[in-house]
Each structure stands twice: as structure tokens, then as C-alpha cells.
């Protein structure tokens, strides 16, 4: 009985100091927890905002916001010239490439965190653990993957993407282009001071197909035969309608 009471007291007194302690140093939220890919989808802007408190607040602190999409295996191919014709030659397969990766920070991430920390936390395009599955150890494929993804705005690094007001209120805007794939995304917010992570927050974001485009996609995947037949009838109907509309 007494032991239990002491234990309860211990838990009560320790509670604010253990797990929630770091959480209190950093409070963050997203403008939306769900992004719907509808027929009119032309990309979405996500606002990440929050505040630091206690010992984490004050001048000199940096904030890093990352947004990561689900992994999607990709193949990078290099064109080679064979008999005067350019065709796809050697290729590398990247199994663990994130489909989407964006990082925004108050300063260049290289200036905020040392390289080991960046690699451990996977912060910044240079620290993404992209290793090809093929035998060829050619870093140009990795470089090409980063560049091609950046061209599609699927990988982004914005060294001035996080704004801080009054030394504690911060916000960042991240753009999700139309090419994002649906799935579970993760937003990670890090509060850094003197090369040390003071506090971290992890927030989930779901990208879902919605509306007509979602239904079309599902039917095309799950009922391909019915989908094909429907496409044929739709085309036939459109053709018939055209011949009726323009009959003289």
C-alpha cells in the first residue's frame, strides 16, 4: 500500500519531466492532416507551423522541417549511343528511394547539423540513404536520380524555407506537386541549437485519392476487364454522339 503510493507519487512527479518534457519545448501543427488527390488536383501547399518554448526558445535556434513520402522503387536509366541511335542502356534500381522528400530550414542544413547527425537523421538530399541494387557502383546514377526528382519538384531542399518570428514562432510552406503518390507521409520538425537536436516532433500526413479519379484508379487496378470494356463503350458512345450531333 505504501509502496504503491510512493510509486504513484513518483510517477506523478516524474511524468512532466520525462516524455512530455521535450514535447513542451516544441509545439507544432499542420494546416491539414490529409491531402486529397481529386480530379482537379494541381498540387497542394502544406503549412507547418508551431512554436518553441522554455529553454529551447530564444535567439540562435534553428528549425528543420522535413516531409517524407512513402518509398517507391525507381529505375534510373542512362541513354547510350548504339549504331548512331540513342537508346536506354545501363540502369540502376533504387529500392529505398522515397517517392517524395522535402526539407526546409532556417539556414542551410550543412551549417546547422554536423554530417554524422544529418546522416543519422536523414536530413538533406546529400544524406538520403540511396543505394542502388545493381552491381555498378556509379555515383552518377544517384546524382541523376536526385536531379530528375528535383526537376519534378519531388525532391526539394529550401535553405530559407523556415521563417521564425519573435525567436519562437516558426512556419514553413511545403509544396506537394501533382505527381505525389498517395500513402502515408511523415512531417518531422527538429529544433536545433549548437549542432544538437533539442526537441523533435513527428506528425503524420496522409495523401489519399479522392472523388472520381480515385474510383477510376481503383477500378482500373481491381477490375481491369470491366474498365477496358467500359472505356470501349464510352468511346463508342462518344463517337455515336458525334455522328448524331453533326448529322446533316
Amino acid at each position: 500500500m505504501r509502496r504503491a503510493a510512493i510509486a504513484a507519487l513518483l510517477v506523478l512527479t516524474l511524468l512532466p519531466w520525462t516524455r512530455p518534457a521535450t514535447a513542451q519545448l516544441l509545439v507544432a501543427e499542420l494546416s491539414q492532416r490529409e491531402v486529397a488527390v481529386t480530379t482537379g488536383f494541381s498540387g497542394a501547399e502544406l503549412l507547418v507551423f508551431g512554436t518553441s518554448a522554455g529553454e529551447a526558445a530564444g535567439p540562435g535556434g534553428d528549425v528543420i522541417v522535413t516531409l517524407r513520402g512513402p518509398n517507391a522503387p525507381v529505375v534510373v536509366r542512362r541513354k547510350v549511343r548504339v549504331a548512331g541511335i540513342w537508346l536506354n542502356g545501363p540502369s540502376e534500381r533504387f529500392d529505398a528511394a522515397p517517392s517524395f522528400y522535402a526539407v526546409a530550414s532556417t539556414r542551410p542544413v550543412e551549417a546547422i547539423l554536423p554530417v554524422e547527425e544529418r546522416r543519422r537523421l536523414r536530413i538533406g538530399l546529400a544524406s538520403l540513404p540511396l543505394s542502388p541494387r545493381g552491381r555498378i557502383e556509379d555515383p552518377t546514377f544517384r546524382q541523376a536520380l536526385l536531379e530528375l526528382k528535383q526537376d519534378q519538384r519531388l525532391y526539394e531542399e529550401d535553405a530559407e524555407g523556415v521563417q521564425i518570428a519573435a525567436d519562437r514562432l516558426f512556419h514553413a510552406r511545403l509544396f506537394l506537386p501533382p505527381a505525389v503518390i498517395p500513402g502515408l507521409y511523415r512531417v518531422e520538425i527538429l529544433l536545433v541549437r549548437d549542432g544538437r537536436v533539442m526537441a523533435a516532433r513527428d506528425l503524420p500526413l496522409t495523401v489519399v485519392r479522392a472523388g472520381t479519379s480515385a474510383e477510376i484508379w481503383h477500378i482500373a487496378r481491381e477490375e481491369p476487364l470491366a474498365y477496358g470494356v467500359a472505356a470501349v463503350f464510352l468511346a463508342a458512345f462518344a463517337g455515336w454522339l458525334g455522328s448524331v450531333l453533326f448529322r446533316r
Binding site: T39, G40, A144, I216, A220, R221, P224, G228, A238, G242
Partner: protein
Amino acid sequence: MLVYLPIAEMSVDALLVVGIGLVVGLLSGLFGVGGGFLMTPLLMFIGVPSAVAVATSANQTMGASVSGLIAHWRRGNVDIKMGSVLTAGGLVGSAIGVQLFRLIRQIGQVDLVVAVFYVVVLGIVGGLMVAESARAVLRRRKQVRRRLHEHFWMHGLPLKTRFRQSRLYISVIPPLLIGFGIGLLSAVMGVGGGFVLVPAMIYLLGIPTGVVIGTSLFQVVFVTAAVTVMQAVSTQSVDIILALLLMAGAVAGAQFGAALGSRLRGEETRGLLGLLVLAVAVELAWGLLRRPEQLYTLGPAL
């Protein structure tokens, strides 16, 4: 206005796509062909993945051909028996073509194979068309008459059948083979194949010009319908939204094209079409030969 294409997984400007449909429809109405040979490269040019461009273009061509088929059907210009034989060959060809396409896609050479098919087929057909129409224009001046019907090895083949509406008594093997070839092209290039089928029917089979267009449309409708279903099942790359947008433009364009076409002479139209076909072939050939701006490409792992 941006529209998200669910299968291509990209957003496009709806007006641009309808505009492409309109232009292709205009040309197809003008020349009496489906226009798939222009549609597929144009779609790839605006960034639609080749697989989706090919499969969707077949679907679109089918819709456009239904319009034409109905018009010819009303006038009784369709040889159903000949059309059925061509279709039978076409179905076999397209079934093999779709499997071939899937194989090529797995190897990662879709862009190359589609481009090579286009360059070879369009180069030959365009060259022949231009030469033929140049000869026709010269012949008109010289007033030399061509013999209507010539006998060659083809007429010695077995399985002879009477095609009443085409006023022909020939073996079913040549139309079956022609249908097979068109089916193959249809699956790999996403075209109806009218621009190959029509000359083949006139010059190889000797079908009277009056029933050629209607009968070729008959074959094109059924083969592109089959290609659409098979592509939907095996590569899942038919984009219904894209097809609908294209058809909206194409149906209207075809009407203007047909009105415009009635003002031009037959051989002049054919010559123009030949030049257009050649131009597309040259552009695609150039694309294969010049050094690409991006040496690396990114694709999903299949």
C-alpha cells in the same frame, strides 16, 4: 484549367488536350484517317508516359472511328465479310502486339521501340504516298490510264472466297495477313492503322475505292476496341479521362476537317497527308539520332 489524369498520374491543361484532339480530328476528317499516328507522339510530347499515350490513343481512335463507321454504314459502304476477315487477322495481331508491348515495357525500351516503329512505318508509308500522289498529278497531265486490275502471285493462293460487295474473288490469306500486321501496329503504336490499311486494301487487294474507307473503319473499330481492353488488362495504362478529353476535341475537329476536305482534290489530299506522315517520321528519327538533353531517365521499377 488543370485536370488530374488518374492513370497517367499527372495533371494537364484540359484546354491543351482538347486542342490536340481538335487538331488531330481536323486532320483525320480532312484525310479520312484515324489520326492515331499524330496523337501518340503529341501526347508523349506533352509528357504523358509512352505506355499511357499508346493505350489511350487506341481508345480515342476507336471513338473517332465509330463516328465514321456509322456514316459509311448508312450509305452501305461497308463490306462486312471483308471487314470480318481483316478483323480476325487484326485480333490475333493485336493480341500478340499487346504481349510484345508488355515485354518491351519490362525491358525498359518502350520509348525506343515505339519511336523506331513510327520512323519505319511512317517513313515507308509517307514516302509511298508522296510518290504515288506525285505520279497521279503527273498522270493527270499526261492522260495515261492505269490498268484497273493486275494479276500477280497473290491470286494463286488457296482458300478463295467471294467478297460480293468488293466485287472480288480472292484468297482469304492476304486480307488475314494484312489484318494481322495492322493489329500488331495498332497495339505497339496506338494507331488505328487506317493510313496503312487503306493503301494496302486498294493496291494489294484491289478493293474498290468506294467501300475501302467504310470497310477499313469496320476493322479499325473492332481492333482498337480489342487493343483497348487488352491494354487495360495487361498494362493498365488506358486513361479514360484523357481519352474523353481527346474525343471531345476530335469529334468536333473531324467535322471541320471533312468540310475542308471536300474542297480539295483526292491526289492533293493524299500528297499532303503523305508529307505530314513523313514530317512526323523525320521528327521522330531526329529524336533518336540527336544527343538527348537528358542522358538519364527516371522510371518506376516494374
